[in-house]
């Protein structure tokens, strides 16, 4: 085994004593890995002072094992072998810190997701042994590190002026954080402005939007940049820089309305900003509240685009508004009486490969859009209550009135004699022109599972497609901010339960439907949750960052400048003249807050004089040595051979 080539100075003189802690994970690991055998093997690994096991290493007693060994001075490096580091690395780092150790003298071996859940028998035990041995190889050379402290601007940029963006902006501003709200259109209100009465409690969308928008416009801590978009992005948590420019053509038609007034379908018109042109915003955090797009049916999908009588639900909602003047009789749309209408659910949602057709870009919307069932039923109720002469049929796959008060809305629809019909994913209803003389322009035929699989024919005057939510058009932001996107193309949170409104990029948060379909209440909850994370991050005036940045060993550096050439974040590393042993010399120097920690510099240094703290090349070499070494175990079938350890 090769000894570390470059042990760091602070560690000199202190012999590495590694503690290895192996988790049973209540059988998750121990069902496939012989944990006690692994522990025995680890006791023979050079540098390992103790090796212990526990049912749940993450539990208090498990952590206590580690802390006690540290306190007693039995160990000074820690290796925990358990589940994925994403789950518990921070748990163990903080346990080490509580016991007075340095949390960065820690290495994690992933023997659940990458061993016990994918391999079985002897092979699993052997692989776990080698992985843990490799972790000890790295741990032996880990030096104490301190987190970087970066001053953070008490300022937030919120991108998107729908209810998510407005909710987050108000919460932040009420906590004393200055906020710049950037909205592409000249209006505040987003998706909710395209609604009328919100299910299930019947709030007036215009009132909700107006309430939030007025408070935003009056708030001294909030500046609104409407009709503007983010065009450049740079910096890091606490100190982001965003370029914001006017969107060409994004202005309200002159004379259409007045600043501060509500325009149905659009929102509250924002007074033009005094500065007008392109500006630069310097900010501590960014909240993404970019919203969703409504699915547009393909031409011919349920007769859409081919029949004027086929419309989408969002279009219908705007057309009928509050159903003013439509009391007591038959619903009239554009002068045409609607005696019978069919609402078809799951249009552009819950699409299944092999059954549904992909869009022009090869995408299928496999997700459920969450809000359409309740929205469709809400609309059906409004119509049936205002216009009892209009019959309403709902053709669905599953009724998903999941939320509080929503099942009651569904029951009410039944009471209102909305007729529900259920179709299978592979038996979509067919929309055709009605027979001449039928008195209805369209007919819908459906194999109805509620009627024992009989085929029903429904003559209708209108077909309404309950279209789903799609990810909004944010490709530019995804590109600029390097945002992670899920298989469903919505922005992807770090973890749905551990960190539901956070991204892997520190200081950037998710609010609302840019992440997944949500209703208004859920959107505001998500926005407030994002705001609370942002406020916590800014509360101290500084942000602590991981110390995994490049560091130059000035004794080895000869000032070739290769690292400066290779650096991917210009400015993070530069050549400087400095005094060493009384002589002025040119050496490389890193600005830690700008360093991305990517290591591009490491590979090119001819002198091996630069490394990423906590991820050094020598540590990788040590890990590879331990993986290939047969010191801890022989692979099954291998010729047994003793190796000098």
């Amino acid at each position: 085994m090769s000894e570390p080539q470059r042990a760091k100075a602070p560690d000199a003189g202190e012999q590495a004593k590694v503690g290895v802690y192996i988790c049973y994970c209540g059988g998750n690991i121990s069902d496939h890995v012989d944990v006690e055998k692994v522990r025995e093997r680890m006791e023979t690994v050079p540098g390992v002072a103790v090796a212990r096991t526990n049912m749940f290493m993450c539990s208090d007693p498990g952590q206590e094992l580690i802390m006690e060994d540290l306190r007693q001075g039995r160990i000074n490096r820690v290796v925990v072998a358990s589940c994925a580091p994403s789950l518990h690395e921070s748990t163990f780092r903080s346990a080490i810190a509580r016991a007075g150790g340095n949390p960065y003298q820690y290495e994690h071996a992933n023997i659940r997701e990458q061993v016990s859940w994918v391999h079985h028998g002897q092979a699993a035990t052997d692989k776990a042994s080698r992985l843990i041995a490799a972790a000890t190889g790295k741990a032996r050379t880990l030096t104490p590190l301190e987190p970087l402290r970066v001053t953070a601007r008490r300022h937030a940029v919120v991108i998107g002026g729908g209810i998510a963006g407005m909710r987050a902006a108000l919460d932040l501003a009420d906590m004393g954080v200055r906020v710049a709200l950037v909205e592409k259109t000249p209006y505040l209100g987003g998706g909710v402005s395209r609604l009328v009465r919100l299910a299930p409690t019947g709030e007036d969308a215009a009132h909700l939007v107006t309430t939030l928008a007025r408070r935003i416009l009056e708030h001294p801590g909030i500046t609104v940049h409407a009709g503007s978009a983010v065009t450049t992005f740079g910096g890091y948590v606490g100190n982001f820089t965003l370029g914001v420019s006017p969107v060409p053509g994004a202005c309200a038609p002159a004379g259409e309305t007045w600043p501060g007034g509500y325009v149905p379908g659009k929102g509250v018109l924002v007074p033009p900003s005094p500065d007008g042109g392109a500006i630069t915003l310097e900010t501590g955090v960014v909240v993404l509240a970019t919203g969703f797009a409504s699915y547009i049916p393909r031409p011919g999908e349920y007769g859409f685009g081919e029949n004027a009588e086929v419309v989408t639900l969002p279009d219908l909602i705007q057309k009928i508004g509050g159903l003013e003047g439509q009391r007591g009789g038959t619903l009239v749309i554009d002068g045409r009486p609607i005696r019978s209408m069919a609402l078809i659910h799951c249009v552009g949602s819950r699409q299944i490969p092999g059954i549904h057709e992909e869009d022009a870009n090869g995408h299928l919307n496999e997700h459920c859009s969450r809000v359409c069932c309740t929205s469709a039923i809400n609309t059906a109720n409004a119509i049936r209550e205002a216009c009892p002469q209009t019959s309403v049929y709902e053709l669905y796959r599953d009724i998903r009135t999941y939320g509080r008060g929503q099942e009651e809305l569904y029951a009410k629809a039944s009471g209102n004699r909305v007729v529900f019909m259920r179709f299978g994913a592979d038996q979509a209803p067919v929309v055709q022109r009605g027979a001449p003389g039928s008195g209805h322009p369209l007919k819908v035929t459906v194999t109805d599972q509620l009627t024992f699989g009989e085929e029903l024919e429904v003559p209708v005057d209108l077909v309404v497609l309950a279209t789903g939510m799609e990810p909004g058009p944010v490709a530019d932001l995804v590109e600029m901010l390097k945002l992670p996107v899920g298989a469903d193309r919505f922005l992807l949170e770090t973890h749905p339960k551990l960190r539901p409104v956070e991204l892997p990029i520190a200081g950037i948060f998710l609010a609302g439907t840019c992440q997944a379909p949500m209703d208004a209440g859920e959107t505001c909850n998500a926005a407030s949750a994002a705001a609370v994370k942002a406020v916590s991050l800014l509360s101290k005036g500084y942000v602590e960052l991981d110390p995994f940045v490049a560091e130059v060993d000035v004794r080895r550096c000869t000032g070739t400048g290769a690292c400066v050439q290779a650096c991917l974040n210009p400015g993070a590393i530069a050549l400087e003249t400095m005094d060493i042993d009384g002589r002025p010399v040119t050496r490389a120097r890193v600005t830690p807050a700008l360093c991305l920690g990517c290591g591009a510099c490491v590979a090119v240094c001819p002198e091996n004089a630069i490394d990423i703290n906590g991820w050094t090349l020598a540590q990788y070499e040590a890990m590879v040595d331990m993986i290939v070494s047969d010191a801890v175990c022989q692979d099954s079938g291998a010729v047994p051979e003793t190796v000098g350890a």
Binding site: V118, H119, G599, V628, V639
Partner: protein
Amino acid sequence: MGSQTGATAQDKILLLATESCAYPGADSVGQAHASYPANVYVLKVKAPVLFPEKFYLDCFRKGIGGIIIMSCGEECPYEGAYKAMAKRLDRVYELMKEEGLDIRRLRLTAICTVCNRAFLNEVNQMNQIVHELSPPVQAP
């Protein structure tokens, strides 16, 4: 230098998996309990651009049979890192040829956090390759 004995060491496959994409991708395969050969070892890296040419050649010398660099591809959080690394790999391939190493032993691929099928494909293919090829270093 560690031991290079035993007929098994050359079978080992190293995955250099990026912390933001491929490493959680490997975890996702685990969450799905999808089995793959146990000679595959995942090392977490911030960005594979860190490794100089020599690192790869040393790995083969030590007996690693195959290396898959599982990067984030175009989604790489470090702008320009992917390109810089791809360029470096061209030189690694040249050096491998000079040393008589089959260049199929080293692959660069992009694996996302939910790319379970792609992950399994890659490791199974590499496993087949290292089984077909004779060990990169001859056992003494």
